[in-house]
């Protein structure tokens, strides 16, 4: 285990930024927290969560896929993919680390999405254990341990120091480069923090939320539940939940005409929108109830069915905090999850 005193954090960040673009969570105005490209002296936020997850680094909200030049009846495809730059995302919480595993299941499954894979290969995740999980947190429901956040390098921040453990080869390589700004340490402080985190986790209001009732092959059990109507009644279909969600990955592909040609880009889309499934031949999900149901059935049943039981929710609580009508996956699970969630 390596240690870097907090008073030395600027030197640490500068060292990381020497070899790769570094992103750290930063406090912005009006209580917003976002990852920002590190510049000398920048202060890291102590907030529990960034408003948007680390998903953006690997699956950005919009990205150009290719360009076309057209002339008369001819088309030329311009493949302008290039090797991604090496980058480090610092301070990713356990839930968001796990979300990348969920996204991997989609984008790295054959046929592999080369845009995503490129960024995954060049990105290093330095995680951060959660010393102050909050009332909207329920990562434990999905078997995630906020005191063991994983990533490429597992990081703990105490009152006076960062502690690092490399988890993957990529993590080892980065940590080796930081020898000059870190020192060897025992695990005492980290073990104490882990105990402390477990105590906080035990007091969380959602600590008893169970996902056991959901999972693979439970479509018939939940699809026709009369509860969907009540649950979805107030849903505005704004899609906020999907945009702040670290595991939502549905996308749209569209063309944009520029002066020089056509850009084909990909952007996030949402199953909460009526346009998502609308065809000239008809609309298979006519009401918001059906669209609302799709989102939660996908996270709690369909995705686990296709991925060895892995849920497509990591309990980060962003949708709980951001939904304008205070509807969320927790309420859905409590309502449909039967006696386990009384």
């Amino acid at each position: 285990m390596r240690k870097c005193s907090l008073s030395n954090s600027t030197a640490l960040f500068n060292k990381i930024a020497e070899n790769a673009t570094l992103y750290i969570p930063v406090d912005l105005e009006k209580g917003r927290v976002a990852y920002k490209k590190y510049a000398d002296g920048m202060k890291m936020s102590d907030a529990l969560k960034t408003d948007r997850s680390a998903k953006d680094f690997f699956f950005p909200q919009t990205e150009n896929l290719m360009e076309f030049k057209t002339e008369g009846k001819s088309i030329e495809i311009i493949d302008n993919r290039s090797e991604a730059e090496d980058f480090v995302v610092f301070g990713v919480r356990a839930c968001d680390v796990k979300s990348l595993e969920v996204l991997d299941k989609v984008f790295l499954a054959e046929p592999v999405d080369s845009y995503y894979k490129n960024r995954r290969e060049h990105g290093v995740i330095v995680s951060m254990a959660c010393t102050r999980p909050t009332e909207t947190c329920f990562c434990g429901t999905f078997g995630i341990d906020a005191s063991a956040p994983k990533g490429d390098i597992e990081c703990y921040k105490t009152d006076d120091a960062f502690y690092f453990n490399a988890v993957t080869e990529k993590g080892e390589a980065l940590l080796a480069k930081l020898d000059g700004v870190t020192e060897s340490s025992d695990e005492k402080a980290v073990n104490e923090q882990k105990e402390q985190i477990k105590k906080v986790l035990d007091k969380l209001p959602l600590k008893d939320l169970k996902a056991d009732e959901f999972g693979a092959d439970k479509t018939d059990k939940f699809f026709n539940s009369p509860e969907w109507k009540n649950l979805s009644e107030a849903c505005l279909g704004c899609g906020t939940c999907t945009f702040v969600c670290p595991t939502c990955q549905c996308y749209d592909i569209k063309d944009f005409k520029t002066n020089k040609g056509v850009q084909r880009f990909r952007c996030w889309d949402s199953c909460m929108y009526s346009d998502f499934t609308k065809m000239s031949a008809g609309q298979p999900r006519l009401t918001q109830m059906e669209r609302f149901r799709q989102r939660f059935m996908h996270k709690l049943v369909y995705f686990p069915t296709n991925n060895d039981g892995m849920f497509s929710c990591v309990g980060c609580g962003r949708c709980v905090a951001k939904c304008p009508i205070s509807m969320n996956i927790v309420k859905v699970m409590k309502t449909l999850g039967g006696k386990n969630n009384d």
Binding site: K73, I75, F223, Y251, D252, T277, S280
Partner: protein, 283 residues
Amino acid sequence: MTNVKEPLIPTVCVITDIRQDTPDVKTFRVLTLDGKKPFIHKPGQCAMLSMPGVGEALFSITSSPTNTEYVEFSIKKCGCVTSWLHAAEVGQQITVRGPYGNGFPVETEFKGQDMLFIAGGIGLAPVRSVINYVRDNRANYGKVDIVYGSRSKDDLVFYKEIIDEWKNDPTVNVHLTIDREQEGWDGHVGFVPNFVKEVAEKFDEDKKAKTTAVLCGPPIMIKFTLQGLGEIGFNKEQIYTTLELRMKCGIGKCGRCNVGSKYVCKDGPVFRMDQLDALPDEY
């Protein structure tokens, strides 16, 4: 990076022939720029066609894999990309990627079976691929019946091929129908579901048992045809259909065509009726 294959990046191809099949359906013949077939496919599979700046959309491949020269798409004018295609001329380049989806099990479950093909309107487009595949591998399949209907005689897609080739094939029985009486039409008049029942009712029990039905058309036609086939003793394991949902990626990632735990673009578009029944009713 650029030498890594990216499934979303298409190939430039060219339209080499356009045939006006009905007032709103055209069939496009497509080749690579060096005059080859853009891909090898299975009957029932689909491909993404696009015109940069207009959009990309998924279409069923209507030509049979046994056609070694070209692939064809029969496209009804109904939206943005299709309207653009209908205005296109021979020599126009388009982009193609695919083929996508599972296709019909022509080399497994269909082998040795009597085939009953049922289609309504543009629904014949994907079915034509299987019909011609079966005709070109005739020894592998039993008797073939084709029941096809449209609103009017003018809306029967592939009419020339049906009359010149399928009707003249002694190993194939073609049963055509149109919805309403029309001058110059002395064939059957009535809706496809009733006509299918009429045709299949005459099958003896032995033939019914060894028949596989392939069904494609508007949802309402599928619904009543299934009902009719059920009444005369067909079970759901004998009936296959192909679905159409909105798709963007074609490779099971963009999420649009997700129905239950299946992605229509990847796990479909061909489903056996009992498999389809196991999915939520959202297609």
